[in-house]
Symmetry: D2
Subunit: 327 residues, 4 copies
């Protein structure tokens, strides 16, 4: 049994990690910490007898791994310190997702807080970085939207089934938990319920992340806010190279993901959001429409899109079976 | 004051027409009829003192106009009979939306029930058929999805801002009322709530309607089911001709719809579903994303997408101000 | 046509009044004001071309009546000033609902800001104060919960059908709009959606209001938060005096409210929330359960429970037909 | 490891049992059966590789226990047959919940299908029948509403804190899953969403069950339908005997349930529905209101109110730790 700690335990991703770790047979939580000392009482949703605490570096030293659920900008210096203590680090913020300082500074409006670590960090889309994750000290856990989009597209791009003379469209829809736990006009029940909207068109911070990892900028990403709490469903449209149909795309995906514990490729039909609810799974389907191939990719944004994938990565980094605690 | 009747008053569109007509200063309802005699008690949602009744042709003869809220296949023969009685007819079913018998038979799996009327029927996307609607005896009220998509695209296609060497994507999301009032696994609360899904990809019956009216088949239409009751939000992606940006598209739309009472073009920002809730308005916005232009079009599927537009059309057919009862 | 102004137009009740006044044939809005100068831009939900403005007393003087949608404590001094200008005032806050300074100070934790006006203010539960409202300069618009509870109970208490040796139970459920427009943990989508809770048991500020107006303190009121935006449904339980059944209660209510435009008594069956959605109506039903009479009262908290009743009262104060703009 | 089977696996309770048993360390499912042969394909929500099957009595004989998720009237003869095969039976239907044939016939409109077993069946409110459940061959799993109400009231009734000269009020609110998986006007998204209603006042079949188990008929039970999928929150009002307050009720409950793994008594504050979401827990709180004691009891209707409590009972019947698979 290995020991892990959670920093920034008061947000949705911290809470979600706590829930999954309760059932994990080989990871034991030694402290939920709130990075800011005196951050107030723990959220009532945390398991009853357990409180998050001000950060205690001595105690943290005993852990084998740490999950950083802290905001971007805050995570990087914490990661640096944790690595010095010899901990394995999975960072759920955006601090180590982009490859260059310049891209980070442009997307996040401040200089990168720990540029020396950028090269070392491994982008933890587990199914596409399995061995590098196992060997890593520091994993950048992918963004929720990029996880849904990249799991669908990467095998097809690698197999050159996508005609990149036209622009891929990733029309993505996310539940409200993606906007975090802070109350705002945007997350007020009255603004979400019976509503639906696109936002941050052309400016969302996941755009450069998707472009870098997809290896192309010919992809338009538009996020929308769904009146549900959990889940992302991405509808992705691409012009296939001549002669390619949805069935070919499905064949490619099925072959690439054969044996994967957390990816299901539908031989027919399309995923719905509630099929992946509270699972670490990504469900993929495809159909033809007027010569385009339409991919549908569904994940739970708090699980495969955040905390579940983080545990999946930590499992690998600590030499455990990748699926422990996640089935 | 003119008299109108509603046939097929027990579904969502019939009920919605009833609600709006209650406030209409120049249209008086002379009977809500259920096309099938002995169709059971009226739905409890209908205004209290009022019941729908078995069809009474003698009484119907007194009306000036009739709204057909009956299912496809049922509407066409009713329309023929009503025209013989001298009534103006707005048909909310799909029976007169397509131009050819062959296209109808293919999409609806049965021969057209009144092919002689197909040529006469006017496709009632009011803003694009204002004079023809005024002169018509029979108007085919557009489908809900086509209304949202065509109001956004038709001016841009006419102005040749769209590069049709690539395929337009219309990613559309509709509330549950679009699926009608019949209980089914598809409309069960447990299957809709906290869920989201694409459906009928490449096979939806609105595809030929959109293609015919847009004048191109280079458009992929994918509908999704939102966990809300009302509303359609369409996110439409197209490759513009060289040099064209979202701002040009907005300029084109603003010019085309200047003075239109029911279309609003946003100079900045994008429409949200709740802005058009229970209105007869279509709200349009645009943004750039990786060289594509992204259009967002929002309507209330039961109003501008059905019953409101039907009243708008009837107003014109009966010589009333187009906006009466709809503001 | 009379002129009215709305102070505090940026909250839910101000917005709701704006929506209804758009259709009012005899009231014209001459300014939506925000009581605090420089309160920032108007909420996007307000009708497009119209903005709320810093308070302009000169302009206000031209109005015949004013709606105060300002918070308790703020309303009272504004009311005093408006009365000096000769305006009719409907105050939607709690400032004039309680009869005594002492009760107000206890419930609202601060001394009453304009005690001289307390005696003059008329409690505007319209159906029970019709003539006094017509003669009033200042009307205290009832709270949302009290409106639902009192419309059901007052006729039965007056007819002495309720055995006050036992305590009446008013188990009330409200949509989120009752908690106002300010974002908070309480109104965050994630805390409301798929949730339900009781709150403020024994301490809610509507308790003294209900007790005063019901004329008894033998009534336990427990509010709950429903995962809907609009509406209050109150389930009220009382021990009837010997021999009295639900049918007797219904008879009493039907007689009392015969001819009332905004109260419907169900001869059988019980009201549901969506029957009163966006109406100024209160629907009442009753049933027997183990010797108790169970009353169900449903209103839209933003309409009959706030803005609609406010317009109803203003109509009377300005000599208009009580139903104008509300049907 | 013991073997269990699930009969009637296609409804919500069967599906829920399937979900929990996937994680159960000591129970292995040997077949999900649909009681009716040829009942069609399994619901898509069932775990992928697993299908329910026509009933195979030979295979069933190998099991140690069986869960009956079949409808009332169907369960009783199946239970009789399973007992003959030597299986332990937990029946989730209402067939063995009432003590007398007469009460059953009155509530369910048909004669009891297996009256000989009525005496033997143990009413499985586990916390109040722990030893009898352990010794039973046949357990009647309690109804969802009775579970919520009885866990709150039984200790207080036993301690004689409730003044039964007045009538207890149990105002209960349930999510839609309580109405089952069959599509109907009642479960249509359009009738539930943004709606709320009381139903079956004075006539609900859980009334005699609650009365029998509470040992008093002085309890009025009114169920309501919440626009959520899961969960029951019961607000219960009683007149305490002289001098008794909410704090006394809490003390009584805390003492009675000390050490119980699935009942939490809140020393302060009240339970909310989402605290018990997808748990087998019942959360209890209390407050004072105008001399009454107000109890709030929250459960997940599909877990503690059905499938979770069924597993809890089966664990006891098969000699396992009561909490296995449920934490």
């Amino acid at each position: 049994v290995k020991k892990v700690a959670v920093l920034g335990a008061s947000g949705y991703t911290g809470r979600e990690i706590a829930t999954w770790l309760e059932r994990h047979p080989s990871l034991e939580v030694d402290g939920f910490f709130s990075a800011r000392v005196g951050d107030g009482p723990p959220p009532p949703e945390l398991p009853f007898a357990r409180a998050d605490q001000p950060l205690d570096w001595k105690r943290l030293r005993r852990a084998d791994g740490v999950f950083l659920c802290t905001p971007h900008g805050t995570s990087a210096p914490l990661a640096a310190r944790c690595l010095e203590l010899g901990l394995k680090v999975v960072d759920l913020s955006a601090d180590f997702r982009l490859e260059s300082e310049a891209a980070y500074a442009k997307a996040y409006d401040h200089p990168h807080p720990a540029p020396a670590l950028l090269q070392e960090a491994v982008y933890g889309l587990t199914e596409h970085a399995r061995e590098r994750v196992a060997a890593a000290r520091l994993v950048a856990n992918p963004g929720c939207y990029p996880t849904a989009v990249l799991l669908a597209l990467k095998p097809l791009l690698a197999a050159e089934l996508v005609d990149l003379h036209t622009t891929i469209v990733a029309d993505c829809k996310s539940g409200v938990s993606g906007a975090g736990r802070n109350p705002s006009a945007r997350t007020h029940f009255g603004g979400v319920h019976e509503n639906f909207s696109a936002y941050a068109v052309g400016t969302h911070r996941h755009v450069p992340e998707i472009h870098e990892q997809a290896g192309t900028t010919r992809l338009a990403f538009v996020p929308h806010l769904l009146p549900v709490f959990r889940g992302i469903l991405a509808t992705i449209y691409f012009q296939p190279v001549a002669g390619v149909k949805a069935s070919d795309a499905l064949g490619c995906l099925a072959e690439r993901y054969a044996g994967e514990p957390f990816v299901r490729v539908y031989p027919r039909g399309l995923p719905e959001l509630d099929r992946v609810h509270r699972t670490n799974e990504c469900h993929l389907g495809a159909a033809d429409a007027e010569g385009l191939v339409v991919l549908v990719s569904a994940i739970d944004n708090l699980v495969k899109g955040a905390s579940g994938q983080a545990i999946q990565n930590m499992n690998r980094m600590l030499g455990l079976d990748e699926t422990e605690g996640l089935l």
